[in-house]
Structure formats: C-alpha cells, structure tokens
C-alpha cells in the first residue's frame, strides 16, 4: 500500500509551517508542497520593509532546501494547481498533471486587491505581494522622484517609510477619514501619521483616487476632491483578497475566503485551509474572519498539522502582529478591531505609546510602539485568558510586565 499523502497548495508561511509541524509530530507519509512561485519559500514581511529598496536587502528564506530534503518534504516550485477533484481526492496542475492526495491543505494566501481605477495598467503602477513584486518596486523606486501610494494600510505605510527614507517625495492617499482605519485605534494611527508627516510624507485622507494619468507611463494621480498628485511610481495597496477560487469551484469558498471550522477543516472531507485564505471562527474576536498575519499563518499551520496527526485541533492561538516604519516598531497583541473603549498611556522618559483596547469591559488587545516588554506581557496575559481593568490600564504605576510574570510563575 502506498503511504498516505498530504498535499499542500501554497508554500509560504502557512504551508511551510504545516509541512514542518507534520514532521515534528511524527507524520510519516508523503508531504508534497506545491508553489506557483519560482523561489524557495521566503519571509513576506521584509518585502515592504527592507527588500523594496534600490539594491534591497537579502531574501530571507523561511527554510533551506536542505531542511525540506532532510524532512522528506517534496517542494515543487513553479507549479500552479488549476482544479480540485475532491471525489477522486486529486488535484490537477495548470499543465494537466494529476496529483493524488489523502489530505489536502489549502494554503493559497491572498493577493492585492486592485480597484478598477482608470490608468491602473500604466507602466509604473504596481502592487506588492511577492518577492518579484518587491524587486520590481525597488528597481522602479531607484528612478522615481514622486511616489504616490493608494491606500493608507500597513503595507502602503511601510513602503512610504522606505521611499521617504530614500529621499523621495511621497504622498499617501487614503479614502477613509484616517489611515489604518481597519487595523488600529485612532491614537496609534495618529502617532504613526505624525511620524510620516515629520519625515516629509504627505498624507491625504477622506479622498479617493479617480484616475491614474499618463501616456504609457504614469505621470500623476487625480483625486475626487480635485487634487493632482505628480507621480512616476504608484503603489496600489488598498488591501488583499483571498485566493479562494479553487475552493470556490467546489463550493467551499467565496470572496470572503475559504470557510473552515475551528479545526480548520472545510465542509469537504479531507480538505483544510490555513493562513491568509482561511475564513475561520476566531475565538479571540468572537467572529468568523480572515486574518492576514504571520502569526495566524504559522499557528494555523501548527493546528492543522495537529489535526492531521490526531492531536489537539482547535485553533485558539492569540493573534499578534508587528509593523516596522522608520524607527517605530508597532506591535499588536490580541484583536483590537471592534473595541468600544481605548485607554492610552505614555511610559518612560520618551513617552512610548500604549493603547489598551477593551470590548464590553474586557481587554481584547494592546497596541504598543517601541515597547516590546508591554507587547510580550500583553500576549502572555491575553493568551492566558486574563483581563485587566480600564483603571489599571490608565494607572501609571500599574506594570503589565510584572502582572504577566505573575501568571508565568503561577503556571
């Protein structure tokens, strides 16, 4: 009898962790991991931080070729899966090759959303998701003077920091009343916006791009309010959409993502989804959602590997996230979206900002800037299911680090 095969589609943070954890858990069957990219799996976060610069930093591989060989993980690059045939438990590649599986893990991630703005196909208009995108962007930045970034989310702002750091004239255009509207509290967004402005970045909010102008190359973007921003490089960074079409074809996915339960299983037996593509019930948010973060991708990889090797299979890990912009390191523990009370405080001589976010009286998330101690303490506290009061959060003498150490000692 042939050994069981686990097939993983997508070889990035979620897919690679799934494969690694399967072997860590003693899984002895075949592991085949398919990627439509040409490179060894790599860290995506540096793309918008250090890679998308002229002569950018080195690629950071997630794991080496040797790691995959040693663990008998069959990594297949440059191959796109075109169809799923769940009744036969097989998939078909774009070239028509057939691969059979016993368990299938969809780790297909997400891709940049591109709104139908006229001019979006002009030269010099880009998106950022892959290593190839980052290299192209870095090259384009070299010859650019004016950079317009459509969308004031994390990726747009990180690239704004890179471009401003390279001395470019940068404008960020955000349709919402403030930047990072979906991602962080107003207090945190304000501090980041202030830093961007201090570095010479123009931030336009409450205005949207009507058209991108140019002959063959972009020359400007024009907004609804009538602004005309000169641009020889435009980054469209208005969010991402799940790569859920394969799943959609068999009725388990749509524009929102691939629907899974708390064990990350889809409604089709033997098929799971992890990472950016997985619309999952999140115990910390109390809602079903997609989360785009390294933490979510790797912890879901661990969970699905546990499910496939008969262990604990509920996804309950605490969300956490980071973003680096200039010398600011933003860290988020928990889920701050949907909070109804934000208590902010500034600690230390340099007044480092922390925002404690509460929902219905419970601490749900903590945003901190250049305060790793508070961040790690909040992760420990929230991960243990503990809360603090708003009064404690506001009290300058309350030390969340010490509180978290007490939990650790009690464990």
């Amino acid at each position: 009898m042939a050994a069981a095969t686990t097939l993983i589609i997508g070889a990035s943070h979620a897919g690679v962790q799934t494969a690694a954890s399967l072997r860590d858990n003693g899984y002895d069957g075949r592991i085949v991991m398919i990627s439509d990219e040409a490179h060894l799996p790599y860290h995506r976060p540096p793309l918008s931080k250090t890679l998308a610069k002229p002569g950018g930093a080195a690629l950071q591989v997630l794991r080496s070729a040797r790691f995959f060989e040693d663990r008998r993980i069959e990594f297949v690059p440059d191959t796109r899966i075109a169809t799923l045939a769940p009744n036969e438990r097989r998939v078909v590649t774009a070239d028509g090759a057939v691969i059979d599986y016993d368990a299938l893990v969809l780790a297909t991630g997400a891709r940049p959303l591109v709104p139908p703005i006229p001019g979006r196909d002009l030269d010099g208009v880009m998106t950022l998701r892959s290593l190839d995108d980052a290299l192209r962007l870095g090259e384009a930045l070299q010859g650019a003077d004016h950079v317009a970034i459509i969308g004031g989310g994390m990726i747009g702002l990180e690239f704004a920091a890179v471009a401003a750091g390279e001395g470019r004239q940068v404008t960020v255009i955000e349709a919402a009343p403030r930047i990072l509207g979906r991602a962080v509290s107003a207090e945190t967004a304000d501090q980041l916006a202030a830093e961007h402005r201090r570095r010479g970045v123009t931030i336009v909010t409450g205005d949207s791009v009507l058209a991108i102008e140019g002959q063959t190359r972009v020359s400007a973007v024009v907004t609804k309010a009538g602004l005309r921003v000169p641009a020889d490089l435009v980054l469209i960074a208005v969010g991402a959409i799940a790569n859920a079409e394969l799943a959609g074809d068999i009725g388990i996915g749509n524009r929102e993502g691939i629907q899974v339960d708390t064990g990350l299983a889809t409604a089709v037996p033997g098929i799971y989804a992890v990472g950016d593509c997985a619309h999952h019930p999140n115990t910390h948010a109390g809602a079903s959602m997609r989360i785009e973060s390294v933490q979510n991708a790797t912890d879901q990889g661990r969970t699905v590997a546990a499910a496939l090797t008969g262990g604990k299979a509920r996804y309950t890990a605490l969300p956490w996230f980071w973003s680096d912009q200039y010398e600011l390191k933003l860290q988020i523990a928990g889920i701050t979206q949907g909070h109804d009370l934000a208590v902010s405080r500034r600690d230390g001589p340099d007044g480092r900002l922390t925002v404690f976010c509460f929902r219905r009286g419970r601490l749900v998330g903590v945003e901190s800037i250049n305060n790793a101690r508070t961040h790690m303490a909040a992760r420990r506290l929230l991960g243990a299911g503990m809360t603090i009061t708003a009064a404690q959060a506001a009290d300058p003498d309350f030390d969340i680090g010490a509180a978290a150490k007490l939990i650790a000692a009690a464990e």
Partner: protein, 127 residues
C-alpha cells in the same frame, strides 16, 4: 546583492572555513553539536536556517519581533557578540525558554570573521 537571492548551499561540516566563512557551532538542548559555515554578515539565526538546523523557529524573519530565535551564547564569545538593543532586551524577558545572562536573539547577532568558532546552545523551546 544578486547573490543574496539564492539559498546558501549547505556545506559539509568537515570543510572548516570554506571561502573564509566563519564557522558556528549550534548545540542542541541535549548537547548534539552541528558545526556549519555561515556567510559573513548573516545572523546566527540565518546561519541556522540556511543549514537546516532544528530549534530556531524565526517566525518574524529577523525583525526582533518574535523571540523564537533565542540562543545561549558560549561565555567565551559574550564580549564579542555586541550589545543587546533595548528591543531585544525586552523581547528576551518573555522568551519561551528562560532567559539567562548569556541569552540573545540569534537574529540580532551578525556573524563576522571575528566570531569564527562561535558556539551557541539552543533552548528547550522557542514557542
């Protein structure tokens, strides 16, 4: 830096100092040694990843945001591995395995020629 866009080919442990590459020894928690050549300028974390060494997770890819690249630096090399930055210091306080006086984040130590022969011990847990 086009040559950085490829994975580092793994080298045999016997080939000390190939191309003058500094050699680093990673000791597993149970004391098993893996000696590998690390490209000068790479971090202790990257050296482990490039050589497929178990026990370094490196979830954040080297931005001092995850503390899953925790190592204990051999005392003899402590004076040579540079200063602990404030962020690293705070992250180490909450690493999954207990912080020791010789604890460092592997991603924050650049392996230079001067660190040839470096020995680090990996902790029991990174997550």
């Amino acid at each position: 830096m086009a040559n950085c866009l490829r994975d580092v080919p793994s080298r045999s442990p016997a080939a000390t100092g190939v191309d003058g590459m500094p050699r680093v020894t990673y000791l597993s928690p149970s004391g098993v040694a893996h000696s590998v050549d690390v490209r000068a300028g790479d971090s202790v974390m990257q050296g482990a990843i490039a050589n497929g060494i178990d026990g370094i997770v490196a979830e954040c890819g080297g931005s001092a945001s995850c503390a899953t690249c925790h190592v204990y630096v051999d005392e003899a090399f402590l004076p040579l591995v540079g200063e602990v930055s404030p962020v690293e210091d705070e992250m180490l306080d909450f690493a999954a395995s207990e912080r020791q006086p010789n604890s460092r984040l592997g991603c924050q130590i650049a392996v230079t020629a001067g660190l040839d022969g470096l020995v680090v011990t990996l902790p029991e847990r990174q997550v």
